[in-house]
Each structure stands twice: as C-alpha cells, then as structure tokens.
C-alpha cells in the first residue's frame, strides 16, 4: 500500500540520531532568531537615546534591508517545531495562550511602526511611532524570554526564573543592537553605541546569573542538578570570556570581531536552553524528545527536502548581509523614503 518513489526509508530514521539532529536544527533556528532579530530589537530600544532626527534615521537605516529576513527565523522556528515535535508545539502554544497572543501583538506593533513613521514629515507623528517602536522592541524580547523560561522551567508565566529569562533576552538584544550599530556607524555615534554595548553586555551577564541563581533556589522540575553540571559551567565561562573579549575588541575599534563574539554569546544562550530541555523536551508533561518526534518517514522527508534548503538559506543570508556590509550609506533603508 505504501508507494515510495522518493526512495526514503519508511520505518527507520535516515540516521539513528535524526531526532536529536532536528532538536539541534530547532535550537539553531531559535538562535538565529535571537541573534538576528535580537539586534533589530536592540536598535528599537536604542532609538530614544538619539535626540536628532538625522541620527534616528541612521539607526533605522541600519536594519531596514535586513529585518524582514531576520524575522522569518521566528516562523522557521515555529514551523520546524510543528514539523518535528507536534505535541510540543501544541502544548507550548495552547498552555501559554495569553502570553503568545501578547507576543504576537507587540511583534505587530514593532513591525509596522517604522513603516508608518515614514508617512508624515511631522515631528510629533514620528516621535509617537518611535515610542510604539520602542515599546514593541522592548516588550517582544521580554515576553519571548518569559515564554522560553516557562517552557524550560514550567511553573507558570510569573515565576522568578522565567521573568529573569525575559530580562536576559532584553539585555542580550540591547547588547547585540548596540554592537551592530557600532559596526554600522562612524565617529562619535560609533563610540557612544560601543559604550552602550559594553554596558548592556555587563547587564546581560548579571541577568544570566540571576536566572541561574533563582532557578537553583526554586529548583523547578529538578533543574538544580543540571545547572551545576559541567556543560553549563562551560557555557557560562565561555560567555564571560567572549563578553570580556568583546570589551577589548570594542576599545580597539575591532567592531566586526566584536559582532561575531556577540552573535556567539547569543548562540550560547540558546545552547543553554537546549541543554536544560534535553532529553525532556516538554518538562511540564515530562514528554521526551523520542516520544514527541514525528514518525521516521515524516522526519526523513523533512530532512531530505528541508535540510539542503536551510543551507541555501544561510548562503543567501550571507549574500544579503554582504550586499549591505559596511557603514550606512544614504538610501539604505527607512528615512530616505523607498
């Protein structure tokens, strides 16, 4: 009854560890989102620090060509979660209903604000949309962090560790946004952004420690033992080293290296989340990765059709970022009208 013209194995995974590979791919998509849209959020949070309209436009132009593409990683994350782990997708989204709806709305606010600010040459009008943009850029990473915290620690949206995960994602976004702006600007604006970047990096480390401490103290789902393990220590130490190296890079004006180290820090945060979740991918119900994964055939098809495409996607991301590399020029994005 089963026809199989694709020559894809039906009863066994292409490789035995394929479910774990897809857990890795899922976390990779999340990390790309945190790192890339994170810098868009950071720019939104830094916007009110600029009084002059010219400087605000420079900030907006920095992310104009790339944010549409950055944002797609969230959809990639959601659909990969559905494609590989449908029970986790169902439980995570339906059990945190109001939180997810709130995230969607602040995300919408963030998305339309720069488009609408362009439409009138009126200071009050622009300032009002900038405030909306700021609010969306602050609240989205915070609520997303709380959602991820709730996923990992269970215990309801208002638990202390979850709130600190929210704060962690906010400080990380601010950090990434400032570093990206330092890379895209010159002169005194660059120096000031670099200074914000160093401050936010310090805030990020404090927030991470707060997550670890509160999770250790309250021990939701028995994470205490995991938090004291070697891999977590390695992740934390590497993060501290990278943040410290970033400070050195920033003082020497090596902003490209700084940006790369910042992106790595974002990836390490998601690695930490992945480590806490593995192998129980939904702690609230105790569902393990192997229980939640789709059947071998479905995962094999997703692998054969999906994984090569992901590689191509990374190639054209590289192309997009290279086209718009270097300091901002006139006509790069919002503000100059398109």
């Amino acid at each position: 009854m089963t026809t199989n013209p694709l020559f894809i194995p039906v009863d066994t995974y292409l490789v035995d560890s394929l479910p774990e590979v897809w857990f890795g791919v899922l976390m990779f998509a999340l990390a790309m989102y945190v790192a890339l849209d994170g810098l868009d959020f950071g720019i939104g949070m830094l916007l009110p620090t600029r009084e002059s309209e010219d400087e605000r436009e420079i900030l907006l132009e920095a992310f104009g060509p790339i944010w549409d593409a950055n944002e797609v990683w969230l959809v990639a994350f959601g659909t990969i979660l559905l494609a590989a782990f449908p029970p986790v997708y169902s439980a995570l989204l339906s059990q945190n209903y109001l939180l997810v709806i709130a995230i969607l709305f602040v995300l919408i606010l963030r998305g339309i604000a720069p488009e609408l600010r362009e439409q009138q040459d009126d200071r009050t009008w622009k300032r009002r949309w900038d405030q909306a943009f700021f609010a969306g850029s602050l609240l989205t990473p915070f609520l997303l962090g709380v959602l991820v915290g709730t996923w990992v620690f269970g215990a309801g949206a208002l638990s202390l560790p979850s709130l600190f995960v929210g704060l962690t994602v906010v400080t990380l976004s601010l950090f990434a946004g400032a570093v990206f702006l330092a890379l895209k600007t010159t002169g005194s604006l660059r120096d000031e952004m670099a200074r914000y970047g160093r401050l936010a990096a310090g805030g990020y480390l404090v927030a991470v420690v707060a997550v670890l401490a509160t999770a250790f103290a309250t021990n939701p789902h028995g994470v205490r033992s995991t938090i004291l393990s070697g891999p977590v220590a390695a992740i934390v130490v590497t993060s501290i080293v990278l943040v410290a190296a970033g400070v050195v890079f920033s003082l020497r004006g090596r902003d490209r290296a700084w940006f790369l180290s910042t992106t790595t820090v974002a990836f390490l945060l998601v690695a930490f989340v992945g480590y806490l979740l593995y192998p129980v991918v939904y702690p609230t119900t105790g569902l393990t990765l192997r229980q939640a994964i789709v059947s071998p055939l479905a995962l094999n098809v997703t692998t054969v059709l999906g994984l090569p495409v992901l590689v191509v996607v990374l190639l054209y991301f590289r192309y997009l970022y290279s086209v718009f590399a270097g300091p901002i020029e006139q006509g790069d994005g919002y503000g100059t009208g398109h």
């Binding site: 104009g64 549409d68 797609v72 659909t79 559905l82 449908p86 997708y89 339309i112 055939l297 054209y316």
Partner: protein, 467 residues
Amino acid sequence: MLGAELASRLQFGWTITIHILFASLSVGLAPFIVYLTWKDVRTGEQRYARLRDFWVKVFAIGFVMGTVTGIPMSFQFGTNFPIFSEVAGELIGGPLAFEAKMAFFLEAVFLGILLFGRERVSDRTYVLSSVLVGVGAWLSAFWILVVNAWMQTPQGFELVERNGMTIAQLTDPVAAFLTPRLPWMYVHMQNAAIISVTLLVGGIAAYFVWTKRDSETWGTALRIAVVMLLLTAPLQALHGDAYGRHVEDTQPQKFAAMEAHYETGQADLHLIAIPTSLDALNDPRAENLWTLSIPGLGSFLASGGDFDAEVLGLNEYESSPPVALVFWSFRFMVGLGFWFIALGLWGGYLTWKGRLTESDRYLQAMMLSTPLGFMAMLTGWYVTEIGRQPWVIQDVLRTSEAVSQTLTSTEATLSLAAFVVGYVALFGGFLYVFRRFIQMELDRIGVDPDERESDQPPITGVFTDDD
C-alpha cells in the same frame, strides 16, 4: 462571552480574511513587477520605471502587512487548535516548514535587495531579485495550499495511536503532498490573486487617467490591466466550472451547500437568486427566494452531462455547514466573476476602437471595480472553508474536536476582540499608506490640489474608512 470553539473559529476566519488580502496582493503583483522591471530595462522608457516604482512601494507595504498578519497565523494552529496540530502535525508541519524555508526566506531576503539595493547590485542581479521575490511569493502560496488541499481531500496517511492519542501518520509523502484538490486550488487561487490585483491596478490607473487626461504612464497601466483581465477572467469561469464538478466528486456536502440542495435527487441550478425579505437572507434552506433556475442543470454540471443524475442532498448528513453563508458567498463570487469578464470584453472593445482612456463610463466602472476582485476572492475562500464544515480535516477530524481543551471562553473572546480591533487598525494603516502613495503620484503627475478637491471622483470603494 462566546464559547472557545466559536471564538476560535471566528478568530481564525477573521485573521485569514485580512491576511489573505495581503498575501494575494504579493502573489498578484509579482508578475506585474517582473514585467514592468523587464520592460524598463529593455526599452528604457520612463513610464515603465515609474509604474514599477509605484507598485514596488505598494508591494513592500503589502509584504510588511502580510508578514505581521501572517506570523500570528503560523502560531494559531497551536494556540487555538492544538488537537488539530497534534493529529495532523506530521502531515501539515512539513509543508508549513518548507513554506518558511523555501519561500518566505527567499521573498524576504530578495525584497531587501529589491527595495534598498538598487545602487549596490548590478542591473541583472536587480532584475533577478524581482524574479526571486515573485518566485518566493508563488512558492509560498503553493506550500500553504498543499496544506489546505490536504485538509479538503486528505490522503497518504493512516490513523495510529501515539501518546494515548489517535494521530495521522504519514505513509505516502507523494500522495500527501499532491492531493486531488491541489491543482484545482492552486490554479483557481493564483488566478484569483492576479484578477484581484489586475482590478486594483486597473482601478488606480483609471483614477489617474480620469484626473489627468494626458497621463501616458497610467494609460499604459490601464491597457495592461485590460489585457490581463481578458486573459484571466474567462479562464477563471471555465476553470471554476470544472472545479465545481471536482468538488461534487470529493466533497458532495459542500456542493450541496453551494446550491442549498437538501433532498437527494435531481438538482437544479439557481442562476440568479434574490431574497424576497431580509429574513430570507438567513434562511438556511434558501426557500423564500425569487430565483431564476434551470431544472436539472445542477445534475448536468455535477455529473458532467446527465440532467437526471442523482445529487446527494444535505439531508443525508448529520450536520451541515452554515448553508446560507455558503449559498450567498458562492453566488456573490460567481456573479462578480461574470462582471469581470464583461469588464474585460468592454475594455478590449474600447482598446480596439482606440477609445479606452476616453470613455468616462468605462473609467468609472473600473474605479468602482477596484476592490471587487479581492471581494470575489474572499467569498470564494468562504465557500471553500465554511462549506467544508463541520470538518476541519474532511471525514477525519471535526472542527469541534480540534479546538484547545484548556482555552477558556474568556481568553478566546478577549483575544478575538483584540484581533478584530488590531487587524482593522492594520488594514486602516495599509489604506492610509496606500492613499499617501496616490497623493504623491498625483503631485508628481502635476494635478493641482485645488482642482482635485472640487472634482473628487467616485473611488469610495477603496477608501471607505479614511475619507
């Protein structure tokens, strides 16, 4: 407070109603933009560059709106219909993930280059970017329709027990991706998107031609629209007729709802139906109507040639979709479809006579038709989606069984209210920005603002909220 099920259905229906307008705007505009970019590069004529610049701006704002209205949709399967996600996850998850990875990324990345990269890439790369954005939009629609077509005519799976639940497990990927409905749906939907955008382009062009008689640029756009309409509107009618037969074969209940056909037996076709009172609009049996019907034609169409063929009636089923809604949506769509054919033929005749930009009556008809393509598309979508009820996956899972068990009616009603208000605001925002583009174009083609005030043309259909 509405119940969780009803509120969830209304929420999904409402968000997709708004989202689909922007999604089709992308799908329909893509070929126009590729054509105009290509003509611009090939001929170097100013008018193609100007038309292209105008519609790329519309495409860009439509894409932003499509993204922000679409991201919630990709999560609503989980928030409101988690049982559906769990039951069908293996079958729908793959295509939805392919949509994000193959299509959405392609569109978003190259749109960045199309909008902001004119000075940074070569002409050839620039034209290629416009093509890739279009390919992204069309692929995106393809994968979404793979999922929807599967829900209408599901196959390639078997029901198995997993984690204490009965779920659909993939057994045949080719059958599951290429369901019987997919080709019908894809052709009908893409063509509907092109017709919708053709009428939008034609209506806006007619408006500019009307305000400024010597507008060479927008006369060109109007001619393109007429040609497109002549190609696409008759195709939609012919294809729709055959599509109806396919629906009767695969979803007889939906077909019966379209004609409000209750008793199994010979079916008539109601060419025209007019309610004799307001109550008749809501009458699920569609009885108190003045109709112009052809006896047996329903049977003839459903069977492909037999006037006496037996057509299953709605009485055969335990529960029916909201029949009045399906019945009227279908009539609205078909009626508009015939109007589009007439509009195309009329425009073709005027073009042949060389009077296209001079006929006041035609320009007015075009302007009034600006939103009608989108309205026909939406009502067609309602026939498809509401007509399938009570099933979310035909004959496999009922909508009532697919809804979240933990969702309270308060949460569902609150979020529904938020989505109604939020998406009205988004749509209003889009109309506002679109109107700004039109004002800028009027300034550019040199229309005196005072003159414009006194001679406001009848374009109310598009701007009902803002004017």
